[in-house]
């Protein structure tokens, strides 16, 4: 059994058909080791969101394979898919719109625990435990999203994503909408949880500094193709591909950055 939590091989995702077809991912091969965090960087049009959606099952690949925890996702039946959901979870980007304004926080988390029969009372202890873990007060369970700030809502989203103790987490731009100070708190929280739960994570972001801070390995995506991948230290200090170099040189504060 490989020690990879997630593996994609020659993944191709195409939308539309015929002359209107757009190939968003053009044959991507990558892996995330167990307990490792892989950062995925790319600009608009790179296909990183599509890759995230393919991993959690929202988007069907046109060809290629996705293997999670040793299981090829193409072979899943309906029933299997449900149990796969317990092993792979996504933490969404927008803390403002990912929570239903008319459901309490407790209901939102209960829904993650048992989507068929969400029951706050039944899972109250678990929910409270997780709220404590993400440093939110206990009374959060009965309150509504609009009563909380962006950073607090993101903590709830993290709790909801991790409550089932998934093995593999896809974090899709989870700090992009947050202020720097709040972002720091969330990143520290995520680092702590990664360690405690031995999570394998794919961390997607357009912010190169955040990705460096968080990742063990890095994948650079450009227009649907991987142009470079490797240990974060190496890619950041000695990039090989010209696109990676131009990307890093574009970050203010990088050694290659200049606007004179």
């Amino acid at each position: 059994m490989s020690d990879n939590m997630m593996e994609v091989r020659d993944l191709v995702v195409q939308f539309g058909s015929g002359s209107q077809a757009v190939t968003v991912l053009k044959g991507v091969s990558a892996s995330v080791g167990i307990g490792r965090t892989v950062g995925l960087v790319g600009e608009s049009g790179s296909g990183k969101s599509t890759l995230a959606k393919a991993l959690v099952g929202t988007v069907r690949p046109t060809s290629g394979s996705i293997t999670i925890g040793g299981v090829d996702t193409a072979t899943l039946t309906r029933g299997d898919r449900a149990s796969m959901r317990r092993r792979v979870q996504m933490i969404p980007q927008d803390p403002y719109s990912s929570l239903d304004p008319r459901r309490t926080i407790g209901q939102a988390i209960a829904e993650a625990i048992d989507p068929k029969r969400p029951d706050v009372k039944k899972h109250r202890e678990t929910i409270l435990e997780w709220l404590r873990t993400v440093r939110m007060p206990e009374d959060t369970i009965d309150r509504y999203p609009h009563e909380f700030s962006g950073g607090q809502r993101q903590r709830v989203a993290i709790a909801r994503g991790l409550v089932l103790r998934p093995e593999f987490v896809v974090a899709d731009e989870i700090t992009s909408a947050l202020d720097v100070s709040v972002q720091a708190e969330i990143l520290n929280l995520v680092a702590r949880l990664r360690q405690e739960l031995n999570l394998s994570m794919l961390f997607i972001s357009h912010n190169l500094a955040v990705v460096r801070h968080v990742s063990d390995d890095v994948i650079v995506l450009y227009q649907g193709e991987i142009v470079e991948q490797g240990p974060a230290e190496q890619v950041y200090s000695d990039p090989q591909h010209p696109y990676t170099r131009s990307l890093l040189d574009s970050v203010p504060g990088a050694p290659g950055f200049s606007i004179d």
Binding site: V56, R85, D100, R103, P115, E185, L187, A209
Partner: protein
């Protein structure tokens, strides 16, 4: 544990009046037939004018019109409720099911519903009446059916909006089944607008059913509703006796009005934007005069702001008396997190304060222009240019790029269309825009975000302004495009000595581009520092230090991002400063 309401419910007077009126009508509907049936059906003297005995006179058969009108309420309301129920229930079912269909089926169903909606409801009702004949029940079915397409369409629209919300896709990801998605997530979020639509449908059904009865296709004798009474009153009207129409006409209007007030009231209560806003007074000179002047300003200062205070019209302070200056040819950055007041400061200087805010300052000057007084728009447009954050919404989608980019040159510099076009084309080339001639003829949505920002910069530079205010111009752009844009701004500053006020939340960008940096927090400037000194060691205010420390770096990785408690440190610092002040 009490359920907190999602929003505070906004009880407007209209809503209350509507509820009261409808309640009264319902009451009349229930009670009147018990009390007044006899008077309504008793035959008396015909066609009497209004008197004490017969408040609205009698009709051609001798019925008392006052009693008869009130008694007619029950039948009218019941028929209206029936028709509304048909339209609402079937409409909701159809509208929601459409969104659960696969894409192809959904598109076809929506097209079908669209064609039916375009068909006038009354015509559809007439068709049903033709098939089923005249009568009360056919009228109810007819109007009910006529209302289904509109309700289904509106429900489908709502369902479309809601189903695209992120919390719905998140729920799907969690494995929530389709049925639960509808009942737990979609319908609760659609409930309020649907209720408003139902109230409006009620009003329309009332009108339509009465219309059918009015022309003789609805209620038949011996039954009578409002419309039938109006129909019976028509001959009297034409014979010169209008009193008979008063009863039914007034009641139709009252009930319709009540339903409309209810619908509008509910819509207003649910809309967070409908809150009371009072008109802002713009930017004025502060009454206290030169009281709190800041430290002396060097002679090279081109922009001077002294004691700027911005608050909401309700009095909540957003910018708490800041003072700063910008020298000629200088790039000054204003950095802060959300709520710091940095954008509002920039917009105040630009005299573009949004509605609902008041601002005062001791003085605010740009070159020799007094920004607190009257300024010639021609001069201001050419001295001060702006670049905004969201290139997606900055340009007017209905107009071509060329028209918008040349607007200032043609309006304020009097240049002809061809001269202005040439100037802008050159400016576009200078900012490295690809295919500039083509871009001029395109609409904004045909350009990418990066291109739109370049166009914005080109237009901003075309008038050779003394100052450019750039409000988060690169926040929405990819990092490589951001570098290009920053390069452009730096070049323009170098080649043309244009001063720049650069607003950003990204301290790294500000440090790279600017000469001097102002750090804002909670509506105050907490630090004014040379960009080169913007490091944790050299910054003086604890907030600046905390901000710098919490920003991850692309060059090195820390185990944990320090989250410093800067507030206590700041308070201590302020206390120490005060002690030193007193000691001196």
């Amino acid at each position: 544990m009490t359920k907190n309401p999602v929003r505070r419910f906004n009880w407007t007077p209209g809503l209350i009046v509507g509820i009261v009126l409808l309640g009264a009508m319902a009451l009349v509907g229930i009670i009147a037939p018990f009390l007044l049936s006899d008077s309504a059906n008793a035959l008396g003297d015909r066609s009497l004018p209004p008197s004490a005995e017969h408040l609205l006179g009698t009709d051609q058969s001798g019925h008392d019109m006052f009693a008869r009108s009130l008694v007619a309420t029950r039948l009218t309301l019941m028929m209206t409720l029936g028709a509304t129920a048909i339209a609402v229930l079937i409409g909701i079912v159809i509208g929601t099911s459409v969104w659960l269909l696969p894409r192809r089926g959904r598109e076809i169903s929506l097209r079908v519903i669209d064609t039916m909606v375009a068909f006038p409801g009354l015509l559809l009702a007439l068709v049903v009446a033709a098939i089923l004949g005249a009568g009360a029940i056919p009228a109810v079915i007819a109007i009910g059916f006529a209302g289904i397409p509109t309700f289904a369409r509106l429900t489908a629209n709502l369902a479309a909006q809601v189903s695209q919300r992120e919390y719905v896709s998140t729920a799907r990801l969690l494995g929530v089944g389709d049925r639960r998605i509808v009942t737990d997530h979609m319908l609760p979020n659609m409930a309020e607008p649907l209720f408003v639509l139902a109230a409006s449908n009620f009003a329309q059904s009332l009108t339509a059913i009465s219309a059918l009865s009015f022309v003789g296709l609805g209620v038949q004798s011996p039954q009578y509703d409002y419309g039938k009474l109006l129909n019976e009153a028509l001959p009297s009207l034409l014979a010169g006796r209008p009193e008979q129409t008063v009863g039914p006409a007034v009641l139709i209007v009252i009930t319709g009005l009540a339903a409309m007030l209810l619908g509008d009231g509910l819509a207003a209560a649910a809309d967070p934007r409908a809150g009371r806003r009072t008109a802002s007074l713009g930017i004025r000179r502060s009454a206290t005069g030169a009281a709190a002047s800041s430290a002396s300003v060097s002679g090279d200062a081109m922009v001077v702001v002294d004691n700027l205070v911005i608050s909401t019209t309700a009095g909540k302070p957003l910018v708490k008396g800041i003072s700063f200056h910008i020298n000629r040819g200088e790039i000054v950055g204003i950095v802060g997190e959300s709520g710091s007041g940095k954008s509002l400061t920039a917009m105040s200087v630009a005299r573009l304060l949004p509605e609902g805010l008041d601002a005062t300052a001791n003085s605010m000057g740009l070159d020799n222009l007094d920004l607190l007084g009257r300024v010639d728009p021609k001069v201001l447009a050419q001295t001060l240019s702006l670049i905004y954050q969201d290139p997606g919404s900055t340009f007017n989608p209905a107009l071509k790029m060329g028209t918008q980019l040349t607007e200032v040159l043609r309006t304020h510099r009097g240049q002809s269309r061809s001269v202005a076009r040439k100037t802008i084309l050159e400016a576009l080339r200078r900012v490295r825009m690809t295919l500039p001639e083509k871009r001029m003829g395109q609409h904004p949505h045909e350009l990418s975000g990066g291109m739109r920002q370049r166009a914005m910069i080109a237009a901003a530079m075309a008038t050779s302004p003394s100052l450019i205010i750039a409000d988060e111009p690169t926040t929405a752009l990819d990092v490589t495009v951001q570098a290009e844009i920053l390069r452009e701004i730096k070049r323009l500053n170098r080649d043309f000595s244009t001063a720049v006020m650069f607003i950003s939340h990204d301290i790294g960008v500000v440090k790279a581009l600017c000469d001097r940096v102002l750090v804002m927090n909670g509506g105050e400037i907490v630090e004014e520092i040379d960009a080169k000194l913007l490091t944790v060691e050299n910054a003086t205010h604890p907030y600046t230090k905390a901000l710098l420390a919490a920003t991850p770096s692309v060059t090195e990785r820390l185990a944990e991002l320090p989250v410093l408690d800067w507030r206590t440190a700041a308070a201590e610092q302020a206390a120490t400063a005060k002690e030193e002040e007193v000691a001196r």
